[in-house]
Symmetry: C2
């Protein structure tokens, strides 16, 4: 009845009855890795199913890319959905996937019991089971094969049917057969997605940006890296983790910009640090006015002693005086007359900058040279880079560069300074950037903040895009800070530092510097174009407040993560109210921030007691961590009054009531 | 300054700056095709973006698998999202994808204009543009290269800068350059997803199931295929498209089931048609009591003349008397004593059925034989198959079988009779089934219906899972029909026929047959086990109503699709109100159904006028298609009163007011 001609062979793997679908998390079908830091967990879910009614087993498989595959059993949730969680502890790439197979033995046990309990004769079934146990013994090998073989013999010829059925379905046999499953026809999800494990600061860090040249009393004399070294304790005391320096390389002279971005330059104008390169060198040199390479290495080591990582600025562009211009004109864009083009954003012109041409004919040598710049500074101790305008260079370039650097130095962290369209910002994150600047800088109202932050923490974006919230940068003095006074600086700091596990400020923030070029977001007398000595102890400075906030961040692990951020109700549009908590609820932080820097605002917070397992009639303690006051609250509705003159924000540690004698921390 | 050792080559495609992401529609990353019928459209969207601020172009590419790639320009929507739509007209597989590239010429035009309008000197820029136009001329070839070359010459040395700029940015040049784009570095999304184009009945058909053996006046004499042929006009007059027959093959004798599924069989009991195979033959034979193969071929041809396609039941299982049991015992499951196992769902036993073992050692010859069964009936004129219990056979088997059959006979339609977990039902649809039975059979309340139907039509499921709504089957007489009387049969018919473009009934429905085995959903004296002559003209039969509903379906293209189904408000939980419309709004159907078969229900419908561009104060006509009454309505709130004794449903054709003299259909 079958055809006599030879049959085309069906691929054996097609006979695998188990299907695995919708494995999550997964970015663009596994094209890009998700991200974690050491100790991070990945909860994996997948639909695992087959035809019919057989019982299945599923395991989560994972490995460090250089290690062996490990497996964890998955738990069945409902509707064919399974889950398991693994933890990553080493830097670098991990892969993970799911395997599933039909558990014929467990299926047989289930059916045997049903038949026996319905009074059916099951001696034939017991022989089938015995054969399965014997096959299990063969898979097991010594020493378990003897136990299994004896059990199989008992199933074949034990004293009574009832005893044989009970033996066949006993837990010890189930456990032993589970240890030696028949996985010959298992299905494994392909290709396995990856997770890149980055150094801790990629996920949790407070950044401080400073121009070393401004650490001087005399605006005509540049501050130096040595001056910065003396200043380190003040930065460290404020509780920052990362000290980010604008480019420290020689600054070009040709077409140098004067103060306030003027085309006409005066003798003492220091120029923009982003106009990189002069006869003193390029991207691998230190500006002579700042010091030497040795000074820099000394600074990096001294900073590390203070708990600070020095982050360098990677700005892949050149001043007309950069050595590359002479040595590698082929890396630049040329006019028809052969001259090199400066940067433009028509009709704007940036005559002090030559952009590199990433898709020039000699792009391969260019890309390798740029990679060597990053490696050069890594060899001098740098582990963190802030990348200038990465969105004007090709995404494949970054994916290649970061991949190459991480292959040798997995601890390297890259911050993307891209203020551009969402797709490109997310694209850079997928390409490998650890963190990114964000639109937070311009999100001021409750609805703006809530909508944007929810997009970042509640959608898939959260798996690969880590926000770094900067309330200001040397390029951006937002209107809210220009006109909100000191209170605006306080509230934006609290928002940045508690909404996002990574945040940063550009120095001057602690002095509430708010003078802009009228009608713009540019700082007046911008430090980008001049040396700017400061009186750090000026009256009204907010250094103590910053120190307090950074201390709160370090003491409360809930703030080291964004995933569990939730917004809550308060019937006042000028107050935003949210919480973060650790997964075990050992640390619960509530924050209420007055978004109106001019007026006292009050309101009734709706505390999400159900999230914390607190009853509506239970009393709990909230500890105001800014002013160190404690309150006993009861029920979900609780009153706050936020006076911008004092503090526009309250950050509460929620403590559940003492339940055991060991829980004395409640009163600490 | 560059390294001197040879550089590892970077893959050229990495230099492609354009990224394409989130191409939709796409099922499981393109692993499975989406589905359409001829004339169907596929709206494709994708994020297409690159670094920087250059202008991009994107095209949708598509082809029939045996044809050339064709291209359509995509439209930019917002946030880097592009879209285009293509139509499929031929049966079989199409592929589609998106290509994107940087449009250097358009970017140059934009920047040139900005610079010129800002008063900058642009003669160098014009030379660059001239070079681009010359390159365009080289790509163009004759005859357009001459026009382009002349234009390039003009850009180089035209009369005035202003004239040259105007010429460079004129539409005719833009259009010509668009015809010859530089796509050397384009990015194309890989792998291209596919769409399978199936025959029209896959997407739109009304099914009627009948047991030919019951078309007899004498329950002791089996009706025949010839009797069925005489009955065809009555089925056709009711407006059905598909005539579905339970298995027509010889029925086994061994362990044959008696009436009402009794283990004891009496002499004249005909047995279940699903116990396939006897000494008279197996899956490629016709039961002698029904007639011959020739009778069957005659029936298929006669049905087609009446506008009916005959659908056969594919039940891949055997009675103990099936020739396969003797000829291919290796295809079955065996007990340790060598005997063949009958079907079980412990503790239930089906002694009259031997299941096939799809993963037996000889699975390849089995699979090929099963495929040959399908081809056998296709060769005898069958184009539609209803597959019995596909969820108890491996998904890879169906994917292979349907793929193989479709390769030779792309017009073949498969209906999956799987009542099982959602993942498996959807898995069968992904594996290739054109349609599927659904949970509609048990969804009775407004919230149940709304939630379930929205999942089917509004989620991604809609791209690959086509519901076929059956209010009853020989296996299922739902409680609602058992106790709701004639009105229940009317309302469930309207729901099935208008919520889903495919629906079907099992005969007897038109007689409101509702006697069940008490406490079950089984028909009393089920036709599965006995011959059941009927009086088709019994008083109270709903044949005229069914005819009316099927006529409405055929006359209103809005009902041929599910994608544009929307539910609307009515403040009465016993009334469900929804609409379907064609994309051009040329056909708009509103349906209101009383879900309470016992009482008159009334309510105010909220007609979604904004969807149809009708103002709140405009008068429009609704034409009650069941009773052929017309009403003038104004505003979104409109009253209905649904009397189950008369009709529990109203189906309205909404006609917008006459706007042109040609629109006389308004009064027809």
């Amino acid at each position: 009845m079958t055809r006599k001609e030879p049959l085309p062979t069906l691929p054996a793997e097609k006979a695998g009855r188990v299907r695995i679908e919708n494995l999550k998390p997964r970015i663009d079908c596994g094209r890009f890795p998700i991200k974690r830091t050491p100790g991070g967990k990945i909860g994996v879910k997948a639909h695992v199913f087959a035809d019919g009614h057989d019982l299945l087993k599923a395991v989560l498989r994972y490995r460090h890319i250089e290690g062996e595959w490990r497996e964890l059993p998955m738990t069945y949730l409902a509707d064919d959905l399974w889950q398991a969680e693994f933890q990553v502890d080493e830097l670098g790439l991990y892969q993970y996937t799911v395997s599933g197979w039909i558990d014929h033995f467990a299926t047989w046990q289930r059916d045997l019991l049903k038949k026996f309990e319905a009074g059916q004769e099951v001696s034939s079934e017991l022989l089938e089971g015995a054969a399965m146990v014997e096959a299990g013994a063969a898979r097991a090998g010594t020493p378990d094969d003897e136990w299994l073989a004896a059990l199989a013999a008992m199933l074949r010829s034990g004293p009574s049917l009832e005893k044989r059925v009970r033996r066949a379905t006993a837990d010890d046999l189930s456990g032993m057969m589970e240890r030696y499953p028949d996985r010959a026809r298992q299905t494994t999800f392909e290709p396995p997605p990856a997770v890149v494990v980055e150094a801790a600061p990629a996920g949790f860090s407070a950044w401080y940006e400073i121009f070393p040249r401004s650490l001087t009393a005399d605006p005509a004399r540049s501050g130096t890296l040595a001056d910065l070294e003396k200043f380190l304790p003040q930065i460290a005391r404020m509780g920052f983790d990362v000290l980010y320096l604008p480019p420290i390389h020689p600054i070009g002279r040709t077409n140098r910009k004067g103060r306030n971005n003027a085309l006409a330059v005066e003798e003492n104008d220091p120029g923009s640090p982003w106009a990189i390169g002069s006869e003193a060198g390029g991207h691998k040199a230190v500006h002579p006015e700042l010091g030497t390479l040795e000074d820099f290495e000394h600074l990096v080591a001294a900073a590390r002693k203070e708990g600070l990582e020095v982050a360098l600025d990677i700005a892949f562009q050149c001043s007309p005086d950069h050595p590359y211009v002479r040595e590698h004109p082929e890396w630049f864009r040329h006019r028809p007359d052969g001259t090199i083009k400066f940067a433009e954003n028509p009709p704007k012109k940036y005559e002090d900058i030559y952009p590199l041409s990433f898709d020039c004919e000699e792009w391969q040598s260019l890309w390798h040279e740029l990679k060597s710049i990053v490696l050069f500074w890594i060899e001098r101790g740098v582990r963190i880079f802030r990348v200038d305008n990465p969105h004007t260079k090709p995404l494949p370039f970054w994916e290649w560069l970061i991949g190459e650097v991480r292959g040798e130095h997995p601890e390297t962290v890259f911050l993307s300074e891209a203020f551009t369209r969402p797709r490109v910002m997310y694209g850079l994150a997928k390409a490998g950037f650890s963190q990114s600047y964000t639109y937070f800088t311009w999100r001021n109202t409750k609805s703006q903040l809530t909508e944007y932050v929810r997009e970042l923490v509640e959608s898939e974006v959260n798996e690969y895009f880590r926000p770094n919230f900067f309330p200001n940068t040397p390029d951006i003095l937002p209107e809210f800070l220009q006109f909100g006074g000191r209170a605006a600086f306080l509230s934006r700091l609290v928002l940045a530092a508690t909404l996002s596990s990574c945040y940063g400020i550009y120095s001057g923030y602690e002095l509430s510097e708010n003078e802009a070029v009228p009608g713009t977001e540019e700082y007046l007398n911008s430090e980008k174009f001049e040396i700017k000595p400061r009186d750090w102890n000026k009256a009204g400075n907010i250094r103590a407040f910053i120190t307090r906030i950074n201390t709160i961040r370090r003491q409360n692990p809930a703030l080291a993560e964004n995933r569990r951020l939730r917004f809550h109700q308060v019937a006042n549009d000028q107050i935003i109210f949210y919480s973060k908590s650790t997964e075990d609820l050992g640390n619960i932080i509530l924050a209420a921030v007055n978004l109106d820097p001019h007026n006292i605002q009050e309101g009734w917070l709706e505390v999400p007691l159900e999230l914390y397992g607190i009853g509506e009639h239970e009393v709990f303690q909230v500890h105001d961590l800014i002013f160190d006051n404690r309150y006993l609250w009861q029920g979900s509705r609780n009153y706050v009054r936020l006076d911008p003159a004092r503090s526009p924000a309250q950050i509460f540690l929620l403590r559940r009531r003492l339940r055991t004698e060991q829980d004395f921390d409640y009163f600490m």
